[in-house]
Subunit: 187 residues, 2 copies
Amino acid sequence: MLFVALVHFPTMNKEGRVVTTSVTNFDIHDIARASRTYGVARYFIVTPIELQQQFTRRIITHWVEGSGAEYNPSRKEALTGVEVVGDLAAAGESIERDFGTPTTWIATSAKHYPNTITCQELRRRLHETDENFCLIFGTGYGLHTQILDEVDLILEPINGPTPFNHLSVRSAVSIYLDRLLAVRTEE
Amino acid sequence: MLFVALVHFPTMNKEGRVVTTSVTNFDIHDIARASRTYGVARYFIVTPIELQQQFTRRIITHWVEGSGAEYNPSRKEALTGVEVVGDLAAAGESIERDFGTPTTWIATSAKHYPNTITCQELRRRLHETDENFCLIFGTGYGLHTQILDEVDLILEPINGPTPFNHLSVRSAVSIYLDRLLAVRTEE
């Protein structure tokens, strides 16, 4: 079973310093919609800032229970799978509580690491085992090395045919979910 | 060679009526960055509204020539490949003028049509021929049928393992570009 976590702390800024980024409205919606499309079990929005958590929960509640639910039922359906948490430990507790088994944590990065796993291999494990995997995405200029050091695995970078590799996090999540979970007729 | 066009008219609203949508800042950046990553030759933002064209060009100029160019060179690089045009005919003229050959127009849709082409087949033609293809994406609730009727081909829908199919246009562009142009080691 696959989970997605979008981390707003600890992330890096342009100068490589640790920062807390703000939750972006498009990150809430685009990633919730992609997660629902591909059957992600839960999408965690991770921020330690109480006010950001409130802001994010208010947006979600508007679309899930408020006047947005009737105006746009597909947004309701997408956002039902979103949970706001303070850190990855809380996401882990939520997974263990509701889905029973421990979680393998997989960070995403534009670089290669010794513990890199390919999309092909992770796709195989998702289809052939009942393991829980949580993909961790960073906002700002990416996840802080503290997270990269602590996770179990790193998912291979997304490579196009050019040296340019500055996809938005919304694009990166969408592409990884398609590589891992799309229905493929040729398989 | 692949081109991308993001159409703001004629598109449909929630009730299925023809509307002109507004250009969204995230659509400019996310799709420009994905296009640059995957080597798309040009990304056309299509709107007949003069004021929207000016607004969009002003954003692009800020990042390509203004203070944004020094602040974030990767945005400059991504946005260099963007052109604002009034309609698809103008996009076609731009392609013919700068890339020489006629264009095969391919709309994207969440439904199947008799002239649907698979991603696999389009990928093959992109790699084995020197044809020009322009993928057309709709904003709002999708492309008006007028465009679907006039194009040469329709690209197969993106299917996840669930019945939910409400990806954002930013997600859809990213996923199609990955399916069509990603470097694949297994090939």
